[in-house]
């Protein structure tokens, strides 16, 4: 039986009458790298804060490393690394001060400890700081967003956390720094048994690092599968009709469709290629093509609001 480091059952949070997170059921097994994706306002940050016990759920519950999120013990918190969105650190502290403060909450890692064992690894921290071209005496308030993110990553990774939760860690970083950041994460992944949940708007990052994708849309989990399963499941197909197009489209897994002249574009989920061919034949399609898409395109199609796929006003005028 798989051991789950993160479990959520019916996790719900309402702000007033509006649900930010709506009955989330989630199980993340140990050793998994999960990309948590969703559009702006999808509820990613709220879900993460609920799981970490910063917010109280309206209904439902969640457990991290077997402990209820609302009652995370200090010992459990020590095993969880968390990088908040925006990497907000104490502005008046220097990197050295911050490292001293942060390390006081962990066991000092013994030289005899095996690589990857929990505990504050000062060498790893300072190696990362040096790698990022930062120094001990630099004040946090004088660092750029990217540099602050690097300090935050080093602080989060240095204790070798069993579970790492990061809320949009690469937000606002340039491509080079983002790559450094992801390399740091990959370094951690290489330690056996580490689990990572990170939210991001950049699907390329998810594709590069994650092996599982969780799609959150308007507070609801729309997909929770491996990247490969998501890639295979979401298809965009363009059908060209010689004569008239059918009035209604009845095909299994249809998410939404677009009509233009003699063309019909469909976004299908979980529809087998044989079924598509079968439907094309029965509908009198002249030719059809399954369009190759990258993960980002697939995500956009998958989360596009039904009936709202239309050009912006300025595009329509052109």
């Amino acid at each position: 039986m798989a051991e789950y480091v993160l479990e959520a059952q019916g996790l719900t949070k309402f702000y007033g009458s509006k649900p930010a997170v709506d009955h989330i059921d989630l199980k993340i097994p140990r050793g998994c790298v999960c990309g948590f994706v969703g559009r702006n306002g999808a509820g990613k940050t709220t879900a993460i804060k609920l799981m970490l016990g910063f917010l109280k759920p309206t209904a439902g519950s969640s457990r991290l490393l077997g402990c209820d999120s609302q009652n995370l013990t200090p010992a459990i918190r020590q095993r969880i690394g968390y990088a908040a969105e925006g990497h907000h650190l104490f502005r008046d502290a220097t990197i050295g001060n911050l490292a001293g403060f942060h390390s006081a909450f962990f066991h000092k890692q013994l030289a005899s400890a095996k690589q990857g064992e929990a505990g504050w690894d000062g060498k790893l921290f300072w190696d990362m700081i040096e790698y990022f071209g930062l120094s001990k005496k630099q004040k946090i308030k004088k660092l750029s967003n990217g540099q602050r993110a690097q300090v935050s990553l080093a602080l989060t990774l240095a204790p070798n956390p069993e579970l790492l939760i990061m809320d949009d860690p690469t937000l606002g970083l340039d491509a080079a720094i983002r790559r450094q950041f992801l390399e740091g994460m990959i370094e951690l992944i290489m330690h056996q048994g580490r689990t990572i949940l990170f939210s991001s708007h950049i699907l390329g990052d998810i594709d590069r690092v994650a092996d599982r994708i969780i799609v959150l849309d308007k507070g609801v989990i729309r997909a929770n599968c491996t990247i490969e399963q998501f890639r295979t499941a979401v298809k965009k197909v363009r059908f060209v009709f010689g004569q008239s197009m059918p009035e209604t489209v009845d095909i299994e897994g249809l998410l939404h469709s677009r009509r233009a002249d003699k063309e019909l574009e469909m976004v299908l989920v979980g529809t087998a290629d044989e079924k598509i061919a079968e439907w094309a034949k029965s509908a009198g399609v002249e030719e059809y093509q399954i369009i190759k898409q990258n993960l980002e395109d697939q995500f956009i199609e998958y989360t596009a609001p039904i009936g709202q796929i239309r050009p912006f006003a300025w595009e329509a005028k052109q």
């Binding site: 804060k49 970490l52 910063f54 917010l55 109280k56 200090p74 010992a75 918190r77 020590q78 969880i80 968390y82 908040a84 925006g86 907000h88 650190l89 104490f90 502005r91 008046d92 502290a93 001060n97 001293g100 403060f101 006081a104 909450f105 962990f106």
Partner: protein, 217 residues
């Protein structure tokens, strides 16, 4: 150990306030005491007496309230700078975190403001400086003034972490501290003033713990 780390972290952020207190109280206080000695010598010729630390009282009240308010502002700044999550995701309970913040504020008031007050009192008590040296009651009154700083710390902190709207109860803590200040001056004796100040600390403190332990961050 972890509590000490939290305390050190808190004190690191407010050490500037403490140094400001030393400069304000010792600088202005020394000037006030010196002026009082001069006034005493002058008034001796006319046969009238003066109170040795009368000029320091208002200064102490002002400095304590200012210090307490600045310390309480840390709670506003934590929200404004969004650093609560960094602090709260520690391997300690929320109670320990709040206790460290309160302890840092108390230590700043006691060590810096109280220390300066004690030095001024000892200076004014030096033999030969005043005809009538200040009494222990004056010293105790000074500490009551300093504890007004704690009343304002609690009030400003409570308002800082309150999630209510500005036009509802968010500013309750600050307004309550203001009311306590007025009631303290209306009190007829030290005992009653002490009771009022104790209530002014305890009531928002209970509320502060309740909000801090239960609010969404």
């Amino acid at each position: 150990m972890k509590f000490l780390a939290l305390l050190r972290g808190q004190l690191g952020g407010i050490i500037g306030t403490g140094i400001g207190q030393i400069i304000l109280i010792l600088g202005c206080g020394y000037f006030a005491v010196t002026a009082a000695t001069q006034f005493e010598r002058f008034s001796e010729n006319f046969g009238s007496a003066s109170s040795p630390l009368s000029g320091v009282g208002p200064l102490l009240i002002f400095a304590s309230i200012l210090c307490g308010s600045i310390l309480g502002l840390q709670f506003w700044l934590m929200s404004y700078r969004r650093t609560w999550h960094f602090l709260l995701h520690r391997s300690v309970s929320r109670v320990t975190i709040l206790l460290s913040m309160i302890t840092a504020a108390v230590l700043t008031l006691v060590v810096f403001t109280g220390g300066c007050w004690t030095l001024l009192f000892l200076y004014a008590s030096l033999p030969g400086l005043f005809v009538l040296p200040p009494t222990l009651q004056v010293y105790f009154e000074g500490w009551l003034f300093i504890s007004l700083g704690l009343v304002f710390f609690m009030g400003v902190a409570l308002s800082g972490i309150s999630t209510a709207k500005f036009y509802t109860t968010k500013l309750f803590g600050i307004i309550f501290a203001g009311i306590i200040l007025i009631v303290t001056f209306m009190s007829l004796d030290i005992f009653r003033a002490s009771i009022v100040i104790a209530a002014g600390i305890l009531i928002p403190a209970v509320q502060l713990f309740s909000v801090f332990l239960n609010r969404d961050f």
